[in-house]
């Protein structure tokens, strides 16, 4: 499973990077969203996908049976942060469109005299 997941993660990253390199602001934001999904799955896979029970202490479950709790804790933090970043980006795109009338990154570059 981990092998397949690794390939899937690579695919997610590839799609994310490709989207981030496009010139539409909204596609860039979608790209960052995909990138965080990829990162979360990467963390999960790194720790190993084994474990028969969720990392919650319960009677009759031996320690080795729990899924690895550490990646999960990290991912939980990451999910929240990526949400904050995504919503910030969204509002940024929204405002910049309002102010500048475009979401095309090629038109948003600084002009020559802005040195």
């Amino acid at each position: 499973m981990e092998i397949i997941m690794s390939v899937a993660i690579g695919f997610l990253f590839m799609a994310a990077v490709y989207l981030m390199l496009s010139k539409s602001l909204i596609r860039i934001i979608i790209g960052t969203g995909l990138l965080s999904h990829g990162a979360h799955l990467l963390l999960l896979t790194m720790g190993g996908l084994g474990g028969n029970s969720p990392p919650v202490v319960a009677d009759g479950v031996s320690i080795s049976d729990y899924a690895d709790p550490l990646p999960q804790a990290l991912i939980l933090t990451a999910i929240v942060i990526s949400f904050a970043v995504t919503s910030f980006f969204l509002v940024l795109a929204y405002r910049s469109y309002q102010e500048l009338g475009t979401d095309n990154m090629d038109l948003l570059r600084g002009t020559e005299d802005h040195e």
Binding site: M1, I4, S22, R27, T45, A67, L70, T77, Y94, R109
Partner: protein, 804 residues
């Protein structure tokens, strides 16, 4: 007394200058400053008896003991001579500046802080025995010179001149540092005194010649030798007291000092002698030749300074010949070292007075353009007398100090024709010839300076201000120096015994054990010999050429400016500036995409490189989780919706597909036994999709507009590269563990230590509570940012101005 601290006295005094300027504005700040050089001069003069007998004093202060760096003040004849020049001329210049700079209009606090900083730096150079601190002070003089040249920073020419001097002297300084490092590697010490004792062993070292050339680059740039002299004429934009002090009497002599100080180390080398004597003599000719082209009084003096520095430099080079001569007392080779130091004193004295006169003329007539001046003799009689004394001394006329040292200069140059090492027997004849030519031009420009200013017809209409004699205070310093010029002529041997011979001993320690062994007796008359005839020739030819100057001076203007050294400097500066700009523009395209491509390419490069170099790539096929049916289904959904995003033309579809990816990930969390993650992911994903749609609801134009998304190969390559890299990282990191996971600790202690059952939650709020705290902070910052963007509306006008 630990006199090493006295080096820092001016710097210490500088701390109080702004305060004095602000609080005691009624009294010219210069009066307080004046005390510093005067006190120092008196103190250092009291050390004279020690050095006259050939003794020396050392005072040490540890600075960075772990790196073996210390301030070591070493006073011998040479450093004491320079110290006295620095403090003595310094005192006169400060006195002069009190009358030159208006206390109401000028920013005196800046001026005197820079000047005192310079004084410390200069004292540091001439007293440091430690190469690294010498370098430190050396650069400090460049910096204070930069600040002083740019003192009237609103003028374009001042800023240009300041930058030019900074670029050239700091370039030289860096080269010199390289030379110092090589020296310290060869000798395994930073102490100049120890290096001198090691000199014979170092001469065969591979680094020797490199150290020599690098050190000379430093000395030549600082002492404005050809071809680096071009900064000095532009440095004349500085206030005249600064020109008199830094750019004629002291700072430009730092290079001479360095050459003199290191002569015992390098004199063994023929390259040293050729470079120092050759470059010096050529500079002497070149400077004197082009001095006549100048129309600006200070310009003439600048070129004359270049020329005179070259003269002293060539004498220092010639003094290295003494290293190779056995019975020096029976030859004329011994004159070079003596003449160098003697002329250095003379030059400081007469050039200081000439600069002050140039400043007085500028101050009292409002111009320094020699074409507008003339006939000031009757209006400014005292200035005229001083200028005449200074200029005649420079031209080498008796009865002024310059005559004596000029004679000795010719003697020393003639002696080189007798030198039979380093192919001097073939080329040595060039030295007296070039020296004679240079002296002729020196004679002419000295007369040009005095007589085109003071004699001839007075042109009051061309002067911005009606000319009149300077106030008495401003005349004190130049008159004092002019008297000194004459005094030196009449007591040359007293000067020789007190100042020159101890210094010569420091330059040529391989010849003399005590100053009294320097068997040079200066006399104004020494019979009919070659030198005398050469001098007479100078007077005759120089006089004739001066008489006909108006006929041939115009031919200077035919020299094309385009091939001058100044043009070279300007082009170099332009090219480096423009080239750097073009180079930056090459990759700083302004497109976010380009920058992201750089970053991602770098990520690929670094990660794959590290994987390869550390041989970290590994795939472990054992210990894998089983592949189940649900997993495959979710995976297909995930990949499918990702593909949808990639190919979709509608933004709405992309957003919904992104939601699908998010939910797939949530389902993965369920399958891989992470219930907390699944819950959070579901909530967050729902809110995210809602937010996306909300943003589009408010911007209907965007959602409707469909844009073609052409496939871009370059982007795709980078994207695939990142994807492959991440797959490899994921595989390798899963397949091997460098150390046991901390997870085991959490699992074991979660109940006993933290008293909780949900391990993930306990990690977040207990074990790694701070992480969560900062996570909340990030959330808060993002929230504040969002509110700010929505609520805060800058008016468009302000937005446009923020870049200007």
């Amino acid at each position: 007394m630990s006199f090493v601290f006295l080096i820092f006295l001016p710097l210490l005094a500088a701390l109080f200058i702004p305060l004095l300027f602000k609080k005691v504005g009624k009294i010219h700040t210069g009066w307080f400053v004046l005390a510093v050089p005067v006190i120092l001069f008196i103190y250092y003069a009291s050390l004279l008896p020690t050095t006259i007998d050939g003794g020396n004093l050392v005072s040490e202060f540890q600075w960075i003991p772990s790196l073996d760096i210390a301030f070591v003040a070493y006073i011998d004849g040479l450093s004491l001579l320079f110290t006295l020049l620095i403090t003595g001329i310094g005192a006169l210049v400060v006195l002069y500046s009190i009358f030159y700079l208006d206390k109401h209009r000028e920013q005196l606090h800046n001026f005197y802080v820079y000047l005192l900083m310079f004084m410390t730096a200069m004292l540091g150079i001439v007293q440091s025995d430690h190469l690294i601190t010498l370098y430190l002070f050396w650069e400090l003089t460049s910096i204070s010179s930069f600040l002083l040249i740019g003192y009237w920073y609103t003028r374009d020419r001042s800023r240009f001149g300041a930058l030019k001097s900074m670029m050239i002297t700091v370039f030289g300084g860096l080269m010199m540092l390289g030379g110092f490092v090589l020296l310290s590697i060869m000798g395994n010490t930073y102490s100049i005194r120890e290096l001198i004792t090691l000199a014979p062993e170092m001469a065969t070292h591979d680094f020797f010649i490199w150290a020599l050339v690098l050190v000379l680059l430093g000395a030549f740039t600082k002492s404005a030798q050809f071809p680096f002299y071009i900064w000095l004429p532009d440095a004349m934009e500085a206030p005249t007291p600064v020109s008199a002090y830094l750019h004629s009497a002291t700072m430009v002599k730092a290079g001479l000092y360095l050459v003199a100080r290191l002569t015992p180390v390098f004199a063994i080398s023929g390259t040293w002698m050729w470079l120092v004597a050759g470059v010096g003599l050529f500079t002497m000719f070149w400077g004197s030749f082009f001095a006549l082209k100048q129309k600006d009084l200070k310009g003439i003096l600048a070129f004359s300074t270049v020329s005179q520095l070259g003269l002293i430099m060539s004498l220092l080079g010639a003094s290295a010949a003494g290293y190779h001569i056995d019975n020096i007392a029976e030859t004329t080779f011994m004159y070079a070292g003596f003449a160098a130091i003697f002329h250095l004193i003379n030059h400081a004295v007469f050039k200081g007075s000439l600069f002050m006169i140039a400043g007085i003329i500028d101050h009292e007539t409002g111009t320094r353009d020699i074409r507008k001046l003339g006939g000031l003799m009757s209006l400014m009689p005292i200035s005229f007398t001083v200028a005449m004394i200074g200029a005649f001394s420079m031209a080498g006329l008796p009865p002024f100090g310059g005559f004596l040292s000029k004679e000795m200069f010719l003697t020393a140059m003639l002696s080189l024709t007798d030198f039979d090492l380093f192919s001097m027997d073939v080329w040595g004849i060039l030295f007296p010839v070039v020296a004679w030519l240079g002296s002729v031009f020196t004679f002419i420009y000295s007369f040009y300076f005095v007589f085109h200013t003071f004699a001839g017809k007075h042109k009051p209409k061309q002067l911005p201000k009606p000319a009149h004699e300077a106030p008495i205070g401003m005349l004190i310093s130049p008159v004092f120096l002019a008297i000194l010029v004459i005094v030196i002529f009449f007591i040359p041997n007293r000067v020789g015994d007190w100042l020159v011979k101890p210094a010569v001993m420091a330059i040529q320690p391989f010849l003399y054990n005590s100053p009294s062994e320097v068997d040079v007796h200066v006399s104004a008359w020494h019979g009919f010999n070659t030198e005398l005839f050469m001098t007479l020739g100078i007077f005759a030819v120089g006089g004739l050429m001066f008489w006909t100057l108006h006929k041939w001076q115009k031919s200077y203007d035919r020299f094309p400016d385009a091939i001058s050294l100044n043009a070279l400097y300007d082009n170099l500066m332009f090219l480096s500036d423009d080239g750097a700009n073009r180079f930056s523009m090459l990759y700083m395209t302004g497109f976010i995409r380009s920058y992201l491509v750089y970053m991602f390419s770098f990520v690929i490069f670094i990660l794959l490189g590290t994987l390869y170099l550390t041989e970290a790539f590994a795939v472990d096929f054992t210990n894998l989780a089983p592949v189940g049916f649900y997993e495959i289904v979710i995976l297909v959904a995930l990949v499918g919706s990702t593909l949808t995003i990639l190919v979709s033309k509608s933004r709405l579809t992309s957003i919904i597909a992104l939601g699908a990816v998010g939910y797939s990930v949530a389902l993965f969390f369920v399958i891989f036994r992470a219930p907390d993650l699944a819950l959070t992911q579901l909530v967050i994903e729902t809110i995210s999709v809602a937010l996306f749609l909300l943003a589009f609801y408010h911007l209907p134009q965007i959602s409707r507009k469909e844009e073609r998304m052409p496939f871009r190969l370059g982007n795709a390559v980078v994207a695939v590269g990142v994807g492959i890299t991440m797959t490899l990282i994921a595989l390798s990191s899963h397949s091997q563990k460098a150390m046991p996971s901390i997870s085991e600790f959490y699992k074991e202690t979660v109940y006993t230590e933290a008293g909780g059952g949900n391990i993930v939650n306990v990690i977040l709020v207990d074990y790694r509570g701070f992480d969560t705290l900062f996570e909340i902070a990030v959330l808060g910052i993002a929230g504040i940012g969002i509110i700010a963007m929505i609520k805060l509306r800058l008016s468009k006008k302000e937005g446009q101005h923020e870049n200007k």
